[in-house]
């Protein structure tokens, strides 16, 4: 009797786990199927014919997707540069220097993520339009950097806070200048955390849709905008392939993040 009950429990658990796996993987499987479906229409449950025609179309050097991929990566790289250039000094100040109203400043960097952003972006777009920079890579980079600052500043502050102060003092004692101590001791030790924050900002920029939708159109077409245009135009194959391209960095990030973001840094985020 007990044995029967435990078998029933195991069967129930297995059924629930299967349903969970279906819900989780089903949408991704559907995406993968569409990317290799050359013809797929009702009432067929699976694609009528498979092929790589759309992959060839997308990866043709002159194709829209390659241009968008280039634009996206270029914007993401510039965004990381801008965000790190602003957040390394800010993170150091927040972690190591006496700063009045420190918690207010921490919250300031968080605010862009804590507000519904569409209403912000439409007004940014209006200002940029008046300045004549709407539809430029520069405008998109600024918007992405402002959005990514919370990650880069908070993680940089945590990374600097996790550096052992005694090491800095030792360098100072043997005669290194404050600048040299920062460049040869503090910064290298904080580097893994800063790299992790850079990867975060890079991915945020690569995946960002809403800001680019208002500020970048019509000239700047990043991968998410290409995906959107293809999907709304009914080209499911191109949309699915673009989506799969966007998935690659996300999956790599998930697999490798723990190598960069160590637990001692993670424990200090937001502190």
């Amino acid at each position: 009797m007990i044995r029967l009950a435990s078998t029933a429990r195991a069967a129930l658990a297995a059924a629930l786990l299967t349903a969970f796996a279906f819900v989780l993987i089903g949408p991704l499987a559907n995406l993968a199927l569409w990317s290799v479906a050359e013809r797929w229409y009702t009432p067929y449950k699976l694609p009528v014919s498979y092929g790589t025609r759309y992959w060839e179309q997308v990866f043709r050097p002159s194709g829209d997707a390659m241009a968008s991929l280039g634009t996206s990566v270029w914007i993401a790289v510039l965004t990381v540069i801008v965000a790190l250039a602003l957040s390394i000094p800010a993170g150091y100040a927040l972690a190591r220097l006496k700063l009045p109203m420190r918690s207010l400043f921490m919250v300031m960097f968080l605010l862009p993520q804590a507000f519904p952003s569409v209403a912000i972006y439409i007004n940014v777009a209006r200002t940029f339009y008046q300045l004549g920079i709407n539809g430029t890579v520069f405008a998109v980079v600024l918007v992405h950097a402002a959005h990514g600052l919370v990650y880069s500043v908070w993680i940089a502050a945590a990374a600097f806070a996790a550096v052992d102060k005694d090491l800095e003092l030792a360098a100072r004692n043997i005669g290194a200048s404050p600048m040299r101590t920062f460049a040869t001791v503090t910064l290298p030790l904080a580097m893994p955390g800063i790299i992790a924050s850079g990867i975060f900002v890079f991915l945020e920029s690569l995946d960002e849709f809403t800001g680019t939708f208002f500020v970048g159109v019509p000239q700047v077409i990043t991968l998410p905008l290409l995906l959107y245009n293809a999907a709304m135009g009914g080209n499911y194959q191109v949309a699915s392939i673009t989506a799969l391209i966007l998935l690659v960095p996300s999956v790599l990030f998930m697999l490798f993040i723990e190598r960069f973001l160590r637990a001692d840094v993670l424990a200090k985020v937001g502190a």
Binding site: F105, P116, A146, F214, M254
Partner: protein
């Protein structure tokens, strides 16, 4: 020579300037625009217009976001609870390997996935028909409010579950073991002993998800094309179709108000944590 305070302010100023220019200024601008006529006098007419045109969508947005948060919380509690209290290593291992996948998937990719998966002829209905669970003729499309909720829950559950599982891992195991030894079921241990201890983490994760869902434009646009729709889509429509910034900003202020309650809880918690650490 600069004092340490002055140096700190100089170092932090460029970052603050970017946030002020690209967040605070547009925020103030949207507030002013929502409450003034072109000549600069105070008015509430844009809110009247927003209410008249979009009152249905306001309710629709609140219901969708709340329902998504509730379902996300339930799913995250079940997942995190199983990960913490599960006794079958095979089930726990499989769940652990699976549940994080949507975490870093962009919303727009999730939207495209669901657009195909939940369609009338999508993989979900096709699988049900193939398994004999459903008649082909009774297949319907879920690409409406149900699709939006499904996408939000699918995308946000790993995030909430991850934070919750992390918090659960750090609470005292002895109390939970004691509860189990006294004969309480795992569900009861989870709900009555473990969950109250990690409630702050759950709330913060849900508030963050709440604001995120209010900000997402791609999911309602791609998953549910027609009316009724969410306020983000209405704002984009007012701008792109009419250049009507006043009404769009009034709708924006309404989304601020919806998230205000949530954001206040969040900021309060952030401040408290700073005070204690």
């Amino acid at each position: 020579m600069l004092s340490q305070r002055q140096l700190a302010l100089v170092l932090i100023a460029p970052g603050l300037f970017l946030v002020a220019a690209l967040f605070l200024y547009p925020l103030v601008f949207s507030l002013i625009s929502a409450f003034t006529r072109p000549d600069g006098s105070f008015t509430l007419e844009w809110f009247a217009k927003a209410y008249e045109l979009y009152s249905g969508d306001i309710v629709f947005t609140i219901v969708i976001v709340l329902a998504s948060c509730v379902l996300t919380a339930v799913a995250a509690i079940v997942i995190a609870g199983t990960l913490t209290l599960g006794e079958n290593p095979w089930i726990v291992g499989t769940l652990k390997a699976l549940y994080r996948w949507p975490l870093f998937i962009p919303f727009i990719v999730a939207a495209q996935c669901m657009r195909t998966f939940l369609a009338k002829n999508g993989l979900m209905n096709n699988t049900f028909v193939s398994l004999g669970l459903m008649e082909p003729l009774s297949a319907i499309s879920f690409l409406d409010w149900r699709g939006i909720i499904a996408t939000f829950v699918w995308k946000q559950t790993p995030f909430v579950a991850l934070l919750l599982a992390g918090a659960l891992a750090s609470i005292d195991r002895a109390t939970l073991e004691a509860g189990r030894n006294l004969g309480a079921s795992r569900a009861r241990v989870m709900l009555e002993l473990a969950l109250p201890q990690v409630m702050p983490t759950l709330l913060v994760a849900l508030v963050l998800s709440f604001v995120t869902m209010l900000s997402v434009l791609s999911v309602p646009m791609m998953v549910a094309g027609s009316q009724p729709t969410m306020l983000t889509v209405d704002m984009a429509f007012r701008i792109n179709a009419y250049g009507d910034y006043a009404t769009a900003n009034a709708l924006g202020v309404i989304t601020y108000l919806i998230s205000a309650g949530a954001a206040i809880i969040y900021l309060k918690r952030g401040m408290n944590q700073e005070a204690t650490s």
